[in-house]
Symmetry: C2
């Protein structure tokens, strides 16, 4: 199958998604028989659309000076997905507009549902739709035998949904626990290492480009919550939403608390977790103290780690994957490639 | 597809393979639509064969007192695979007879090739055939569109071949390094913790059932070599054999060497590795010193860890999976389930 792609979102991840294809296409064609072309690219202010496929080398170099596409041939002010879908026929929508959790998952939820109803597969890094409409979107994809690739939403290149699907196939997950947000873990690490306040550590994270100017989504635990919800719903079949779990953040951590923990040879970490015992599911985001014998104690800086407790396969610890736009872009392609190489029976 | 299984090997892993199906069958049927029955079970002295499927509950309880099957209905002294294959029609051979690396992979290599040529899928925990005939067997399975599940050979439940196939799909592996043998790592750990000699630590490992009475396969590095060869050949497409790589063991490690390392805040570990730089492949099994900042330094006791260095997905660390007959049995079923849910395009 040749992938005819429409892309929504031309930020760092959108650009990296195109660039990665340009770099890897010969290898992927040879190894997986995978080829792709791009038919439209939609940004918040309009987009590029063509009848024939877009020359991605020209496009990337046109975007280089300003990061924008509005001088590129084929640009239309105010172009939206609902117009583009009628003008150009694609079989894969890549949706990487920013996660906005305030609006019930819209407009991305409707965009993705529209694509799936139009027989278009979807790969996305946008968490919002799956915090409110996971089951409905999943059902739509399953019914139409389409890819709905959401690995990017749960830690980018960190194998989470992917790991649970393949490496744990046939095993029952009894508990998932992880450090899933690099910003929080970086701040907690710096507070301990340099005996500084939360505000000082946050400013350092912002200065380094690790934390956003508006850091609430990360430091109040929403990013971790979103990830644990999507991982649980996908792998365990729960139906968790943002409203159904308790979410803690790290704003109230003081240097005193950090010091107390250190004196007890422990560390405070922000974890996302889901635990299943019989029919009871406990899930949430909370601050926990770990002693030095536990795996999560040793996870420092922006590192992310996820631990799966399973029966009968035992306990698994997974860490890594590039934490960058290229890593996020890779995780979208990973879902596409895994689908491409064995699509028929899903 | 209903799996009609013939089993070769009724040791701990063979028994656990049947037992696990008995425990999980309702869950697997519901979740994956997977069902299976057993038509013959072959041991070193003969086997059980039936025209109808074997009642596995009766079989397991008959085997409980002695571990043997020779009083079970359907037993035939001296039954071999080449007879059984003509008497009963199966579509999956599970080969879990012991790895014997001295005989060029035989007789298991011929058994597996015969199955594949007869349109029978194979899942196996036997490393020997793949140390000598990897490419030929892989080609045979690919050509006939059959499962050749070898995940069990490379660390049982530890996701190695599996992880590389799915979690690293589309990424290029540049280096693999791991602590792949629990016996060696246990001995090195004990020598450090208790300041004892190699012989003392080995005896402790044997007393605990971790090391075999004849420990050469583990402590001379052959088990690690076999795993790194199979992982590399499968994931990187190398054509390594036991003859083409240098293999070190741990017999010559003295308490003095351990002490020197400890004084330098380092630890000696036995690692398997493959590194690719351009067209040059370096692979082997060797003793290396790691300092406390490295992941492998912290891997103690019987734990196993594998690190993947990839482009563009970055670095991944994977640890875990039950290290037991049940874990090994699970890894066979994992390969079968992953194939069962998406078989057509391989």
């Amino acid at each position: 199958m040749h992938w005819k792609i429409g892309l929504i979102g031309f930020g760092n991840v959108g650009k990296a998604f195109i660039k990665l294809y340009s770099e890897m296409k010969d290898y992927w064609l040879e190894k997986y028989g995978l080829s792709a072309s791009f038919y439209y690219i939609i940004t918040s202010r309009g987009g590029v659309i063509k009848n024939e496929s877009i020359d991605i080398e020209q496009l990337l170099s046109a975007a280089r000076p300003t990061g924008r596409l509005d001088s590129f041939h084929g640009w239309k002010d105010g172009l939206t997905f609902s117009e583009a879908i009628h003008q150009s026929s694609i079989n894969l929508l890549v949706e990487v507009s920013p996660t906005a959790i305030k609006n019930n998952g819209e407009p991305a939820a409707t965009t993705i549902a529209t694509a799936l109803r139009s027989n278009i597969s979807v790969a996305t890094g946008n968490k919002a739709p799956f915090l409110f409409h996971y089951r409905e979107l999943h059902e739509l994809a399953r019914k139409n035998n389409l890819l709905l690739g959401i690995g990017c939403t749960t830690g980018a290149a960190l194998p989470s949904v992917n790991f649970g699907t393949y490496a744990l196939a046939g095993s029952k997950i009894t508990k998932i626990e992880g450090i899933l947000n690099g910003v929080c873990n970086f701040i907690l690490t710096r507070m301990e290492e340099k005996s500084i306040s939360f505000d000082q550590a946050l400013r350092e994270a912002q200065a380094r480009g690790i934390a956003e100017t508006d850091p609430a989504y990360d430091i109040d635990g929403w990013d971790t919550a979103a990830k644990i919800i999507i991982i649980s719903n996908t792998l365990i079949g729960t139906n968790l939403t943002l409203k159904s779990i308790a979410v803690e953040g790290i704003r109230n951590i003081t240097p005193d608390l950090i010091l107390q923990s250190r004196n007890a040879q422990k560390r405070i970490k922000l974890t996302g977790f889901t635990e299943i015992a019989g029919n009871i599911i406990r899930a949430g985001v909370s601050l926990k103290e770990f002693d030095s014998s536990s795996t999560l104690y040793n996870v420092m800086g922006t590192r992310k780690v996820i631990i799966y407790y399973t029966e009968p396969a035992g306990q698994f610890i997974v860490e890594g994957g590039a934490s960058s736009p290229a890593g996020a872009a890779y995780s979208l392609w990973r879902d596409i490639i895994n689908w491409h190489t064995q699509p028929q029976t899903r």
